[in-house]
Amino acid sequence: MRIGVLALQGAVREHLAVINHLEKEGSIVKKAADLDRIDGLILPGGESTAISWLMDEELEHRLGLLAREGLPVFGTCAGMILLADQVEGGNGRQLSAIDITVRRNAFGRQIESFETKLAITGIGSDVPVVFIRAPYITRVGDGVQILARYMPNGKATSSSLGFPVMAKEKNVLVSSFHPELTDDLRIHRYFLAMVEAAN
């Protein structure tokens, strides 16, 4: 099994390390041709404006096409922003691979960044996660399953349960936070199981 990691900018090394640790082959994706022969793709955290600026048209087109054709894709933080259908406060291009609206820097600036433990459907009740200038989801389409929510302190939320911070629609998995910054491998295992099921 070969997992590509979009390597234009951001936390590429961390995702590759987890993939290797789980005894799968990781490969770097910078150009459209790098998308050949991968079984799944991770879009890492980074700066979404920079990553979308660095993505050339061919790569953007091929990536969007593969995601619509069913290639398992996992976007963390900036990766979630790129995969979303719509972005509040965004100025980059969207791959529109998952029917959600995302708000950029929704929890605030770096001083508001935090780590915590989350209950995630199908994964665990105490998964350690790191939110860095993180986005959250403000709208989900009908086909989207919400896997985790987080209630920010002192912020009004549309739901008493908090804002969705992890979601899945068919082959596309997204999270507001960075599982790659912790030693807990359960979220990556969950994604690799999606890749296995798709092949």
Binding site: G10, G46, E47, L54, F114, E115, R133
Partner: protein, 292 residues
């Protein structure tokens, strides 16, 4: 339970900036140009290093009004510089909620003996280093990101190369040494022993290490990336050149495609005039910034 300002949260933002370019800006217009060119963050300051060097005088933290304007103009992280040891300037930047504080030798040092205790802040710090000992001392003080010092404001990459190579060489020594030699090595390098142990465990510095101080061209950025740095700061190199937007974009692409000479040849062409460089040995000794 939720925790802010942990070391993981602080160093985590630096991890997200990897493979990117952080650009010095002095106005909102420059900040916008930087963001549009694909910068991962901007450094808000009063004067770029080349102007500080040319104009002399005491260089201080930028005016909070200017920093705030830049923070409202762009959506990418905004960093700002404080003088070495000036914890009150750092308190002001934390109150402004900047995303990263650079305790920087580019400004005139406020304390000739001590650096800031960075652990007491929620906002993370980046510090410059010329060798592994200096990097490890800053990390022990709480820095969550390191950059080479190079020689700021010169447009001359030679000092950044020297610092990066030296750090790489010293990390290799630490990794190769038998455990019992580590304490002596710590003493000789002036590096806290526990950080050397961390380096051995992780096989690399425990925080991100960017290149800074003299980077002026896409080729400079690509060279530093190939030497193993995690990303690039460009100070005077962009807005002291004849066509800042085009040069900024070129340096961003060169940093991503640092090991693809064909793309580098493409992006290095037709950039207009680079900033005028300075030879290091022509700088009077008291104007050398890296020794601060």
């Amino acid at each position: 339970m939720m925790e802010r300002g942990t070391f993981r949260v602080k160093s985590g933002l630096a991890e997200m900036l990897k493979g990117g370019v952080i650009m010095d800006v002095t106005t909102t217009e420059q900040a916008k140009i930087a963001e549009d060119a694909g910068a991962v963050a901007v450094m808000a300051l009063e004067r770029v290093p080349a102007d500080i060097r040319a104009q002399g005088g005491v260089a201080r933290m930028a005016d909070p009004t200017k920093i705030k304007e830049i923070m409202t103009t762009v959506s990418i992280p905004v960093m700002a510089k404080v003088r070495i040891g000036h914890f009150a300037e750092a308190q002001i930047l934390e109150a402004l909620e900047v995303d990263y504080i650079d305790e920087s030798e580019v400004l005139t040092p406020a304390d000739q003996q001590y650096h800031i205790d960075k652990w007491v802040f929620t906002v993370p710090f980046v510090c410059g280093a010329r060798d592994l000992g200096e990097a490890c001392r800053r990390i022990t003080e709480g820095a969550a990101m390191i950059r080479t010092k190079g020689e700021p404001g010169t447009g001359n990459v030679v000092e950044a190369v020297k610092h990066m190579r030296l750090m790489n060489e010293q990390i290799r020594e630490v990794l190769a040494a038998p455990e019992e030699e580590l304490m002596q090595m710590a003493k000789e390098m002036g590096a806290p022993h526990e950080i050397l142990l961390l380096i051995r465990r992780e096989g690399k510095l425990p925080v991100v290490n960017f290149a800074a101080g003299g980077i002026a061209t896409p080729a400079d950025a690509a060279m530093m990336m190939q030497l193993g740095c995690d990303g690039v700061f460009v100070g005077s190199g962009i807005f002291k050149s004849s066509d800042p937007a085009v040069r900024a974009q070129a340096i961003v692409r060169a940093t991503t495609h640092y090991n693809d000479p064909k793309i580098l040849a493409e992006v290095a062409a037709n950039l207009g005039e680079p900033m005028v460089g300075i030879n290091i040995d022509e700088i009077p000794p008291h104007e050398i910034m890296q020794v601060r």
